[in-house]
Symmetry: C2
Subunit: 231 residues, 2 copies
């Protein structure tokens, strides 16, 4: 627990048996702001759940509003049909920041930021909260997009199952910086360092049926994933 | 099953209750080559396992040799300590290829390629296979790196737990192409299309203790993730 900073207690999540990071605890983070920033920068989460003792890990989009993480999909989805029963879920978001190239094979690593959330999801029944969650999904993908597109109609709203998971029992794990080689390996004639990785965009591909007079919006043209929204 | 192509049976994985994709089956792929290419391009997998009914989803590096996926880590790791008992595991690799921007909020999507593997992992005890797996981890991160760095010594080999999972019960899911809007929405004055995403590198950061005469190797300088090795 030495690695915990000295913020006020309210900024830190409670550490439990499930979310406590035991291996390499100096990489562990329990600050709410740090967890939110990782969640806001990521695009895909991996949802883990158990059916008849069998684990499933399914990638899906998500959105966040305050201390709720939202996922959604078709009411026919195996994942959502199971999760809405209130079974235990583990949702993980991982951002890959770089390859860590050491002088020995053994000391190779990756720089990353990840968040793991434990809990049980509940169905969002309230129509206002459901619409807010749908807005959060769209805005999470492209900021400003919600006001540019057609809003969900009553039928679409009814045809979407939205689940909410509280971000209370969670932790982040972060590795940054150069490789840590064994002292005797620093003398080796091997290039060592970090190769940073970034999720970048290439030229947008207009829909084949797009009218030529419709211009590319600025938020798509200047898209970047590294400007996490304020939390 | 209509979506299955007409290759010879040996190129297709067996479809079971676990790996059959039921929602949007036209996105499902069971071809070995397609699954291998996704695994070879990815860098991080998400490992799902269950302890006392609680699912865990942990990101980790991996390597592949033929039809085996390997993961590794400290013998003290909670994940590896549990997996080596032979419990059920689900390993998922997801590549994000683009944002799919539709004319309605409801039809927004992502282009992606993912692989889900089910099975039970076994400890690699054989020293030659273990060394081959460690080589696969290093080569998976940077092709050609293994021959440039110090190989694992006996102590490092003993201090690494390597697990092997057969890629037999697996499936891939792939979405490509433009948004699919409702017919009446094509008349809307909304930019629609795909914003492609790529994992790219920025300038390598030399280790602070790197001797200035050691040059950046070509495989790091010209690094790209999109040239999957031949399978």
């Amino acid at each position: 627990m030495n690695s915990l900073p000295t913020e006020t207690q309210s900024d830190l999540l409670t550490i439990t048996q499930r979310n406590q990071i035991k291996i390499l605890p100096h990489k562990a983070k329990y600050e709410r702001q740090e967890i939110y920033q990782i969640l806001d920068e990521g695009l895909v989460c991996h949802v883990g759940f158990v059916v008849d003792s069998q684990p499933f890990v399914i990638p899906t989009a998500y959105g966040r509003i305050d201390e709720c993480l939202y996922i959604h999909g078709s009411p026919a989805s195996r994942m959502l049909r199971n999760l809405k029963q209130g079974i235990e879920v583990c949702i993980t978001v991982t951002l890959l920041d770089g390859l860590v190239l050491a002088r020995s094979a053994f000391r190779h690593s990756m720089n990353f930021r990840s968040v793991v959330i434990f809990g049980t999801a509940t169905v969002v029944e309230d129509e206002a909260e459901k619409l807010a969650a749908l807005k959060a999904f769209t805005e999470h993908v492209v900021s400003g997009r919600w006001d540019e597109v057609r809003s969900p109609n009553r039928q679409e709203l009814a045809g979407t199952l939205v689940l909410s998971l509280p971000i209370t029992e969670a932790s982040a794990k972060v590795r940054t910086g150069p490789p840590i080689d064994y002292e005797e390996d620093y003398a080796l004639s091997v290039w060592a360092g970090e190769l940073p990785l970034r999720l970048t965009t290439t030229t947008p591909i207009p829909d084949p049926r797009l009218s030529p007079e419709i211009k590319l919006p600025v938020n798509v043209q200047n898209y970047t994933r590294n400007s996490a929204k304020s939390v």
